[in-house]
């Protein structure tokens, strides 16, 4: 047993006062049997027995025992020093001989040691010191430095904690970003639905890892990109998650689609082709910014435009070759062109509302839309011709059956398209704000199911046709004049319909989409469905899984064609969509009118289908007034 002097003991007590929380684990080779727990002020009667396993002698003391006692006892043992301080005895001895001026800095250099171990070494050093003033000075200095070191360490720990939190937040963000809901925005007719699903799954399986992917672009596509100053190299070698790579693939496909028409003489006049290319570039940017929903919607939009371009070019070719003699479904052609765009535009508008549009989607989308375009004269003329042809050749019954919904759609979607082309973000606001535009497409199946719009009067139909034709004619005129349509209308056109559109656009010029808390909507939807289920007098399950809840029918209060009316709530569990409408019945129980009221918990301000007499009068008055 080695002698432990009083100064060492005092040093121990001092060091333990300061660093008592940091007692390291005792060495394995030495088991202590302490009758009382080690404390700063141990009474002299405390006895410890040390039974070193690697050392031959047992150690027994009647003095207070601390790790410093052990250090004092074994400081000349090389094995102990190596194990405890990761230093040789020689190094320790050299340290004990340095001057007062250097001792603090030398101890602090031993960065691998804990503060307690440093203090122990200081105490060892102090045992051989004689100048009390120097000792006090060094000790004060050391304690200050150690305190500073401790604070630095704590700051480091805090930084680590923050980093951990950031990683968790990022993980959560990625989980939300790549949640399966992201695909709900996909156009149901998109060819990429399955690819997107598998890419999303792959992204999740790969823990959102990003990787590089190269893709081949044919010469024609590269030529198109070079001519249009598109950065195609981004696509040739892209970096991203599997989902991002999928969207880059879609962009590449879109360029390829357009490239096949690149050499057509009318290509440069085709606004749809340009729009498709620009939307595709937006997909790239949105994908880079990880605005996945927006990127998906824009991709659908880009492909929608590209497909329309293909059909327009094919149509032109067919006409030239004289292959098509009769347009079997003229209004359908016009409708498809307008509807195709209108539908995807609605998706984009939805995406912008739901996505973090202010930071990501909005600015990117606006960049494209802020560039003013010429309208596609060919398309507009074709649409006018087909409508005219249909008006002349179809029977009254056909007009009534097909006309109402389709022409209204053409007019409405035509407006949407025009606005999108020429008044950039104003139109997006319009789409987002006017439920009639946004939700028209969502209820067309209901109108079709009931074969509605069968009693629309000729006045109403003509009014709608007139409005549609005037809109389209002005488009052609403006394009032929090669003037920017928005400015033309604003400054010189006397066309009422267009003035109205410009007015609407102006109204929403400074529109910024609101952020929507979808979790709140989900809860609302759930409440709506539960209430409807409880109160329903009839429940009808449709073959595609949709469930309709019918409220009690309220009888008409005056005699007439209509027997009664009730509220219907439809829940589509597959798409998570809830929509509600009023429908009224004839005495034979046939639905004769529908009024959309709610879509996913949101109130809709819609017209009745077919329109009520009051609505028709209002519409006719508007057209007449203009």
């Amino acid at each position: 047993m080695r002698y432990i002097n009083r100064r060492a003991l005092l040093g121990t007590v001092l060091s333990l006062f300061i660093f008592c929380k940091q007692v390291p684990k005792e060495p394995d080779f030495c088991t202590f049997y302490v009758t009382e727990q080690e404390e700063i002020t141990l009474p002299d009667s405390v006895t410890i027995t040390c039974k070193p396993l690697l050392y031959t002698s047992n150690m027994t003391t009647s003095r207070p025992a601390t790790t410093f006692d052990i250090v004092c006892a074994y400081i000349h043992n090389n094995n102990f020093c190596k194990w405890y301080y990761d230093m040789t005895v020689h190094e320790i001895e050299r340290l004990m001989k340095v001057s007062y001026e250097r001792i603090v800095s030398e101890i602090l250099k031993l960065d691998h040691l804990s503060s307690k171990q440093m203090t122990e070494l200081w105490c060892l050093y102090k045992r051989g010191c004689h100048k009390q003033s120097k000792v006090d000075e060094c000790q004060k200095d050391l304690l200050e430095k150690l305190q500073q070191r401790k604070e630095d360490f704590e700051r480091g720990q805090q930084r680590k904690e923050q980093l951990k939190k950031q990683i968790l937040v990022e993980q959560k963000r990625l989980q939300q970003l790549y949640h399966e809901d992201v695909l709900h925005i996909s156009d149901q007719n998109s060819l990429y639905i399955k690819d997107r699903q598998s890419a999303l799954q792959k992204t999740i399986d790969q823990q959102y890892k990003k990787y590089q992917q190269t893709r081949e672009l044919d010469e024609q596509t590269v030529g198109l990109c070079m001519a249009k100053n598109i950065d195609y190299q981004k696509l040739q070698c892209s970096n991203g998650t599997a989902m991002q790579q999928q969207l880059y693939n879609e962009v590449a496909d879109c360029y390829k689609k357009i490239a096949q028409w690149f050499c057509q003489p009318s290509f440069s006049e085709n606004i749809l082709a340009h729009q498709s290319l620009e939307f595709a570039q937006c997909v790239t940017e949105a994908t880079e910014a990880e605005a996945m929903q927006l990127a998906i919607a824009l991709s659908d939009l880009a492909h929608g435009c590209a497909d329309t371009v293909c059909s327009v070019f094919l149509g032109v070719q067919d006409t030239v070759e004289g292959v098509v003699d009769v347009i079997t479904n003229p209004i359908g052609t016009a409708k498809n062109i307008g509807c195709c765009l209108g539908k995807v535009m609605s998706f984009v508008a939805e995406a912008m509302v739901y996505a973090d549009s202010e930071n990501l989607g909005w600015s990117q989308y606006v960049q494209v839309l802020e560039q003013e375009h010429q309208y596609d004269a060919q398309y507009a003329q074709q649409a006018v011709d087909t409508i005219k042809s249909w008006v002349v050749h179809s029977s009254a019954q056909e007009k009534v059956r097909m006309g109402t919904r389709c022409v209204v759609d053409v007019v409405l979607y035509g407006n949407v398209f025009k606005l999108l082309s020429h008044t950039s973000k104003a139109c997006c606001g319009l789409i987002a704000e006017i439920p009639e535009l946004r939700f028209l497409g969502e209820f067309t199946d209901v109108y079709a199911e009931y074969g509605l719009a069968t009693n629309l009067g000729e006045v109403g139909l003509r009014s709608i046709e007139d409005l549609g034709l005037s809109v389209l004619k002005s488009e052609v005129k403006s394009t032929v004049n090669s003037k920017l349509i928005f400015k033309t209308i604003k400054t010189s056109s006397s066309d009422g319909a267009n003035k109205s559109i410009v007015f609407q656009a102006e109204k929403y010029k400074n529109y910024k989409p609101k952020k929507v808390d979808t979790s709140c909507l989900l809860e609302k939807n759930l409440n709506i469905v539960l209430d409807a289920e409880k109160d329903a007098v009839r429940i009808r399950k449709l073959s595609d899984g949709r469930i309709r809840y019918y409220e009690r029918e309220k009888a008409a209060r005056t005699p007439g064609l209509t027997r009664g009316s009730n509220y219907v709530l439809e829940y589509d569990p597959k798409r998570g969509i809830v929509r509600g409408w009023y429908e009224s019945y004839t005495h034979a129980g046939v639905v004769n009118r529908v009024h959309p009221k709610m879509f996913n918990g949101r109130e809709i301000d819609s017209l009745h289908y077919p329109h009520t007499g009051e609505e028709l009068i209002e519409m006719a008055a508007k057209v007449k007034g203009k």
Partner: protein, 83 residues
């Protein structure tokens, strides 16, 4: 909690202002969705509001102002009103 009495008071105001009856019907429907989380599902107010909403489906479903005023009074008095 959104009650029938509360709705009755609001209805009375609308009637007093002689707002269009079809617009009142539309408002009744909107009221349900605006207050969906505050409506007791056992109170029957949902059914009442949706049925009153049929007034916007055409003149054949409309009540007169006098009738609506009476309905409002009965609601305020806490009576069970069936349309």
């Amino acid at each position: 909690m959104y009650t029938k009495q509360q709705f009755g008071k609001e209805l009375k105001e609308k009637v007093a202002k002689r707002e269009k009856v079809s617009a009142i019907g539309s408002w009744a429907h909107k009221t349900y969705y605006d207050h969906i989380s505050e409506i007791d599902s056992n109170s029957g107010i949902r059914k009442f509001l949706l049925e009153l909403g049929t007034m916007e489906m055409g003149p054949e479903f409309e009540y007169s102002y006098e009738e609506l005023d009476e309905i409002a009074d009965r609601l305020i008095a806490g009576e069970d009103v069936t349309l």
